[in-house]
Point group: C2
Chain length 223, copies 2
């Protein structure tokens, strides 16, 4: 999935001929139109026919670009995930796993804007994220994608630490716990009014400060 998205982005950056450019234009139009309809009237309330009619292509063409209706909804998420993974790979090997993950995510969110803007307006991307969080079908898919992402992160952590991922449970564990924090962050952010990446950053940083305390044997009543 990430490979596909990366390839698509790379191709968009360096279009070879007219054919390739046209393809990117069609794909982009489908994504933007879908996002607009999904955010305006809801995911379930939008049919493929509406999307393809607005873009003026056949339904069959839609399904040649996207395997299913869900996939178009995650067009920008793929780029975001790739960014996050790359950030982790860029962290120095000496850094402790949890620290590296934390820094990588915050880092990725900082660089998010420019990358996303190439595909759709950032504001639309953020509004779409809320649609994903509030649409049961999409939320389910999102969680599965997140799980796949976590597996990749765990393998990278294992590589950094020189461990065999099938022998030592710690890489998967630390990523799973970290993923839990991020998920809670996303949820809280989705419930707020502040639709900005800085708000997202703040919540995440705040949550991560509580990882230690939350695992303590006994919690003091005041926080």
């Amino acid at each position: 999935m990430t490979t596909d998205e990366a390839a698509a982005t790379a191709a968009a950056a360096a279009p070879t001929g007219l054919r390739e450019r046209k393809k990117q234009r069609t794909r982009g139009a489908l994504v933007r139109t879908a996002f607009e309809l999904f955010t305006r009237q809801g995911y379930d309330e939008t049919t493929i026919d509406e999307i393809v009619e607005a873009v003026d292509v056949s339904q069959r063409t839609f399904f040649r670009y996207f395997a299913n209706k869900e996939e178009v909804a995650f067009a920008t998420q793929g780029a975001a995930e790739a960014l996050c993974f790359d950030s982790l790979c860029a962290r120095p090997t000496g850094e402790a796993p949890l620290t590296a993950l934390r820094t990588a995510v915050l880092d990725a969110w900082d660089r998010m804007g420019e990358t996303i803007e190439e595909l759709v307006p950032t504001e639309l991307h953020l509004r779409m994220y809320r649609v994903i969080e509030s649409t049961p079908t999409l939320l389910a898919v999102h969680l599965r994608r997140t799980m796949e992402m976590e597996e990749r992160l765990a393998r990278e952590i294992a590589r950094r630490e020189g461990l065999d991922i099938d022998e030592d449970p710690r890489p998967r564990l630390v990523v799973a716990m970290f993923g839990g924090v991020i998920r809670v962050t996303g949820k809280l952010w989705g419930e707020r009014d502040d639709l900005s990446t800085t708000a997202l950053r703040d919540i995440a940083a705040h949550q991560l400060d509580y990882v230690g305390p939350a695992l303590a044997e006994h919690w003091s009543k005041n926080h």
Copy 2:
């Protein structure tokens, strides 16, 4: 969802009249037949028509018992989740959150057998779990259900500790982290040959022992 499942189980235990008994029989037949077909030939490869033909009811009847094809696949999971939640509620208030969660889950797995057996043979339930883990669509739904479950657990933890869940992030965090461990456990168990609940217990206990070490600043190279 849990309320529905609990109600269904309760009704099965004390059927009032012939009407109610017939309904439970139909529901049970649908679940068992679906499980059998799903585990034998796969979820995607099984059509609703196949199920209803084997049970000899109309397709419309199926959709009156289950909102969609996915729901029947989670018929026994609902009971398992309820059991887990009840176990947590039964833990003494003095127990530390993480300890209570750990004990509750291990406890629930011990009592799983009897509860499930009322619905379908336990072995079928376990085989079905593997189908869920290995079918993308079902895995996605499973993760969403898990997330909803985690929200309920977090609220119970907050209640036990006398905290406001919207003010203090720790309840959601500890549950999210714990959930991560359980998810890894389920995944590892699904990949093994040993299809028993005791194996599940062992893996979980082993994983939980690593929660502390995984969060440590630096990991020693030997485990």
